[in-house]
């Protein structure tokens, strides 16, 4: 296992200075409850406004099971590994993608492709982990998922009361995920089952609005009296959550897909993925920092082509529509969009017309905040069996995502006085893809 600290770089000395400095000053507060961020975030309205202005968002679309790069971002038509699908030109001269993505091809000039990905991990769980964490899993070193990292680092300090880390799931939902590691539950994902609002966000029927208002006032009075005796970062953070809760309840419609106009429902389609993309647009528009949508399932060991025909057909429309909408609504430049999977699929076609797990040479698609438009980075050989140019891995991608939203990916979190690096200190961003 690699160590969690910035091994072998100057970051040590830097981190150390901050760290010691921290101990002298706010470090003590951090020790007290690690809520310094919360406290000062809303004690300084000026700073809050400034941050809100530069608010960045992140959308991750997770293609469950292992999307075939050959049937999507890196087609090899007319070769023994290419399969039956042809490639089509896109809005970016010279860039071709699979014919299964005609609508996406039309918005390609907003997006960029990374075709030199080699993550050397063919296990579903481990592959998904390293793509979402930027590092390999290691029992002794539990680290937060990208959503938690983004929710923490991009937190909008105007406190809109909405959770910053949302995963849209097909059903159920409402609960808090366990994906924030040392960043703490505040940044753990809230899952929204098909647009149900978060758990407990609905006032009980037997409690009228004015009754609630009345008891909330009694609560505030009680707090005032107590806080005059003792006020700390913790008390501030706690009382603040009740104001957040009220604001969230007011904004419950943010999670209510039925509030979107009929024609948009039509444009996105009636199936789950279409509706989830529309919900993602709604959430991002309402200032939610990180939204993750999943599309299932691409683990096509059997009839890879039939299944990709169906699944890509479902993906293409809503995805292209979402990209275009984000552009049209002026959100795209501040929203990092990532289409990832746990790995790609084998160039070799098996006897079941299937493709198996393949992490040696595959692709992801990125766009929006901080990344180039219409770029293609990295190259695989004629049959797509190897990366021959611009090879990168999950560590580089994670650094790149952070850099794209304006963070210094070599920086560290201060976790109770311990500096913990945002991304694998042994890796670095892909400069060429950054805008």
């Amino acid at each position: 296992m690699r160590c969690a600290y910035a091994c072998g770089s100057n970051d040590h000395r830097l981190a150390r200075r901050d760290f010691l400095g921290g101990l002298g000053g706010l470090g003590t507060l951090a020790g007290l409850g690690l809520v310094t961020g919360d406290l000062f975030a809303f004690l300084r309205p000026a700073a809050a406004k400034q941050m809100a202005a530069e608010q960045k968002r992140v959308l991750v679309i997770n293609m469950h099971g292992g999307l075939s790069q050959l049937e999507s971002w890196d087609p090899k038509p007319g070769t023994p590994t290419g399969g039956p699908f042809r490639s089509i030109p896109t809005s970016v001269p010279g860039t071709h993608i699979s014919e299964l993505l005609p609508k996406t091809a039309g918005v390609m000039h907003h997006l960029s492709l990374i075709r030199g990905l080699n993550t050397s991990e063919d296990d579903h769980g481990k592959g998904a982990y390293l793509m979402l964490h930027g590092r390999r899993q290691s029992p002794a070193n539990d680290i937060p998922e990208i959503g938690a990292v983004m929710a923490r680092t991009l937190e909008s300090s105007d406190g809109n009361g909405l959770p910053g880390h949302i995963k849209i799931t097909a059903g159920g939902g409402g609960g808090r995920g366990n994906d924030a590691a040392y960043l703490g539950p505040r940044y753990a994902s809230i899952s929204l089952g098909n647009g149900n609002p978060p758990q407990y966000a609905t006032r009980p029927d037997d409690l009228s609005a004015e009754q609630d208002a009345r008891r909330q006032n009694l609560r505030r009075l009680a707090n005032e009296r107590f806080l005059s005796r003792r006020r700390t970062a913790m008390t501030d953070a706690y009382t603040y959550t009740f104001e957040q809760a009220l604001r969230l309840m007011e904004q419950r419609s943010v999670f209510d897909l039925s509030k979107e106009p009929e024609q948009d429902h039509a444009r996105y389609g009636a199936h789950d993925f279409g509706r989830h993309c529309l919900l993602a647009r709604r959430l991002l528009e309402n200032g939610i920092t990180f939204v993750q949508v999943s599309h299932s399932n691409y683990d096509t060991h059997n009839e890879n082509f039939q299944f990709h025909l169906e699944q890509m057909g479902e993906f293409d429309g809503p995805f292209a529509t979402l990209i275009q909408d984000l552009v049209d609504r002026g959100l795209f430049d501040s929203t990092l969009v990532i289409v990832l999977s746990e790995f790609g699929r084998t160039p070799g076609i098996n006897q079941l017309y299937g493709r198996d797990h393949w992490s040696k040479a595959w692709s992801v698609c990125v766009g929006g905040a901080g990344v180039q438009r219409g770029a293609v980075l990295g190259k695989t050989n004629e049959h797509g069996t190897e990366v021959i140019e611009g090879q990168v891995d999950h560590g580089n991608l994670f650094h790149t995502y952070l850099s794209a939203v304006g963070l210094d990916s070599t920086e560290s979190f201060d976790i109770g006085g311990r500096p913990v690096p945002l991304a694998d200190p042994a890796s670095k961003p892909i400069r060429e893809i950054l805008a």
Partner: protein, 335 residues
Amino acid sequence: MQTENPAIDAKLVHVAEQWPHDHPLISCRFDPTGRFLFACSEDSTIQRWELAGKTRTPFAGHASWPRDVAFTPSGETMISCGYDDSLIWWETASPEPKPVRVVKAHERWIDGVAVSPDGRFVASAGSDRAVRLWNIADGSPIREFTGHAKHVYSLLFHPSGEFLLSGDLGGQVHQWEIATGKCARTIDATGLWSYNGGQAVDYGGVRSMAWNADATQLVCSGLREASNPLGAVNDPFILRFSWDKGEKLRGHVVADVKGVAWNAAFHPLGFLVACSGGSGGGWLLFWNADDDQAFHKFQLPNTARGMSLHPDGIQVATAHHDRHARISRLVAKPA
């Protein structure tokens, strides 16, 4: 099984010949005269073998994988369909075959092609869910049959020439009136389809259809028990319907074979032949009309992807992933 012709006995089935190609094969058909075997290949060609001389001739013209071929009753003209959204007309016996006519018939995939009994029309269907009728003489569009909700896999004309049947991924078999384009009825073959919630995928469908000798019965081939669609865990399955009522008569199954029944055909002697391919390898399967269980199964050297029954009732051709077409014979091995 008992037959009047003692020479033919499904239980005697054996692989008599295997013809190599340099790419995996997808499907195969004998021409009506029984002179040639045609096989679609992953190299986007159609390969023609002359049974007599076993000479192999490539038909190059499709821009992607060809999926299937159909012949005019005389066998003079062959029409192929492919994943390049095109129908291509060919001279079946041409020494140097070239596309005679190319028609962009659909968007993306064409899975089904069939020629009307009178040889005037060719029908096509595919992933755009459309079923279309074309004039064989000039390739002009005649009619479109709309109503499928899912990818259409297979086509079959009624011998009377009045109706066209089309079967889709969802297990819906629509019966279209050629004359009016109306959907006369829909036969429910949804037993061949399933939706897997965990994997969020539709799977199965009507992979092929066939008539019995007097067209009183229809069979639809495919799969069932798809516990893991993405992992090819499913059993071959054939549904038998009565034509007059469109009712399900029987579901034909076989023990201990995992796969898909890609094609099914009635042998002139009345028993049912199908090929199965998939995670369980390649098989030739045989059923009597009155039994659910197959009375014989024969394992082929490699997974099978397509099957065709020779007019002589003795030879059965199969197309394989291991780059071979194979001829099996339903008679005793020569001593």
